[in-house]
């Protein structure tokens, strides 16, 4: 079985759609996390039954919301290096925002500016695995010029969204 408990967490979270949600009536709204990862972790490491739903017995998600546009304007230093921080977005394991630094229109670094995963150890291990990869790929592929990721349910989508806001502030396509 190639699937790890981390994969299970993502699958279970994706299936736990029956929980009640509320969103804010703002122009830009970040909704409640689809599901906390704690419940998924507690279901243990077997993948059995994941074909149709190991997420049926999950605890309700914590009702976390966050302001969407943490509008800090792009900053320009004397050297031509600029940075901006994108909106706080929901990335399934919590809330995060992305900071981009660019020289001219070239992205030179992408880092996580804020990250709130509720201190969950499972999500922290996911963060450690996925975020460096995301940073690396965003820089190398200059992936700001994409408008979405097909097949990426959660993490990448949230990252790309915040990245896009940050890049928009810098005027980078």
């Amino acid at each position: 079985m190639r699937r790890t408990p981390i994969v299970l967490a993502a699958t279970a979270a994706g299936l736990a759609g029956v929980l009640g949600f509320h969103t804010k009536p703002a122009k830009v709204a970040v909704g409640v996390s689809p599901a906390g990862t704690t419940g998924a972790a507690a279901t243990g490491g077997t993948a059995a039954g994941s074909s149709t739903g190991s997420g049926a017995t999950r605890a309700p998600a914590p009702a976390t919301t966050a302001p969407a546009r943490s509008s800090s304007a792009g900053r320009r230093s004397a050297t031509g290096t600029r940075s901006a921080t994108g909106s706080v977005v929901n990335y399934n394991y919590g809330l995060m925002s992305v900071k981009v630094t660019a020289s001219g229109t070239k992205i030179t670094s992408v880092t996580i500016a804020t990250l709130d995963d509720g201190g969950n150890s499972l999500s922290q291990s996911i963060d450690q695995q996925s975020i460096p990869l995301l940073e690396q790929q965003a820089v190398r592929a200059q992936s700001a010029s994409i408008q979405g990721v097909s097949g990426a349910s959660y993490t990448s989508a949230g990252f790309v969204q915040s990245l896009q806001f940050a890049l928009s502030k810098l005027g980078i396509k």
Binding site: V7, I146, A152, G171
Partner: protein, 280 residues
């Protein structure tokens, strides 16, 4: 990318004018609306409200997790098909068409626990939500239902929608970039890979690590991507034979196949992306 002369935020900026993340259908649906830099007309928000309603209604009608949803009751035999809302009959007819078009590789009637149109509904609902958004004042709109994406218009003047395809072997990676005009769906990837069932065996499993389909309608693209993931490369010619649809499969070792006209963006084939990410 790497647009030449630097400038302030201008018409090249990629951020949408309206960006909404909607928790619905057991996942998050992203709605992005571009208005060409003009102030967002009030009518756009009215259409956004309609699009959100489309998504939530689909959730209420089709959820197999909500015990009292019409589809749950249909699956338990408590109601007949005729007693369900018209949406259910519409979707099941579309499912039957997709089943026939894929030689049975997509088959909601072969799912455990009775007919389960879930594999069609997310894309269908996202497509309907997108259709509700389109109108005056909108130069581009995109609905991203957990990686299945319907789009219309353009994100920037004359610019295409560029959609990356997630790497099935990496939580965070990308494996290709496509230029999409209407829709793109991917099945069998890392984050959601364990939920596909082979209608010929009733067992969970796929023959490729991930399968991506582009085409004019996201509901159908979603179904075709499922069929392609489950059936593997032998389904590629079926997909390519459908007017307007193209397919891409990726194996866990990185090898890939695609229909001849798959709309890779410039530099966006798996080989090119792999070279780029390797530091080239």
């Amino acid at each position: 990318m790497n647009a030449g002369p630097q400038g302030p935020a201008d018409e090249r900026a990629v951020a949408p004018d309206v960006h909404r993340i909607e928790p619905v259908m057991g996942t998050v649906v992203v709605v992005d609306i571009y208005t060409g830099g003009d102030p967002v007309p009030a009518d756009v928000y009215r259409r956004l409200a309609r699009a959100r309603a489309v998504l939530h209604r689909a959730d209420a009608v089709f959820s197999t997790w909500k015990r009292e949803s019409p589809v749950s009751r249909l699956r338990r035999g408590e109601v007949s098909l005729e007693e369900t809302p018209p949406d259910v009959r519409e979707v099941l007819e579309l499912c039957a068409s997709a089943r026939d078009a894929t030689g049975g590789w997509f088959d909601p009637w072969a799912m455990p626990g009775g007919v389960d149109p879930t594999g069609y509904v997310k894309g269908w609902a996202a497509q309907k939500a997108l259709d509700a958004l389109v109108g005056s004042g909108v130069t581009g709109a995109l609905v991203n239902a957990a990686g299945d994406i319907a789009c219309s218009g353009s994100p920037s003047p004359g610019g295409p929608w560029r959609i990356a395809v997630a790497d099935p072997s990496s939580r965070a990676g990308i494996v290709a970039v496509a230029e999409v005009t209407r829709s793109i769906a991917t099945s069998g990837t890392y984050e959601r890979g364990a939920h596909l069932v082979d209608p010929r065996t009733g067992l969970a499993g796929t023959r490729v690590a991930s399968a991506t389909v582009t085409g004019p309608d996201l509901g159908r693209a979603d179904a075709l991507a499922t069929a392609l993931a489950v059936g593997g490369d032998e389904v590629l010619p079926l997909v390519g034979g459908l007017e307007g649809y193209e397919g891409l499969t990726v194996q866990r070792d990185g090898t890939w196949s695609a229909t001849p006209a798959f709309p890779f963006a410039a530099g966006g084939t798996p080989d090119e992306v792999a070279r780029l990410l390797a530091g080239g």
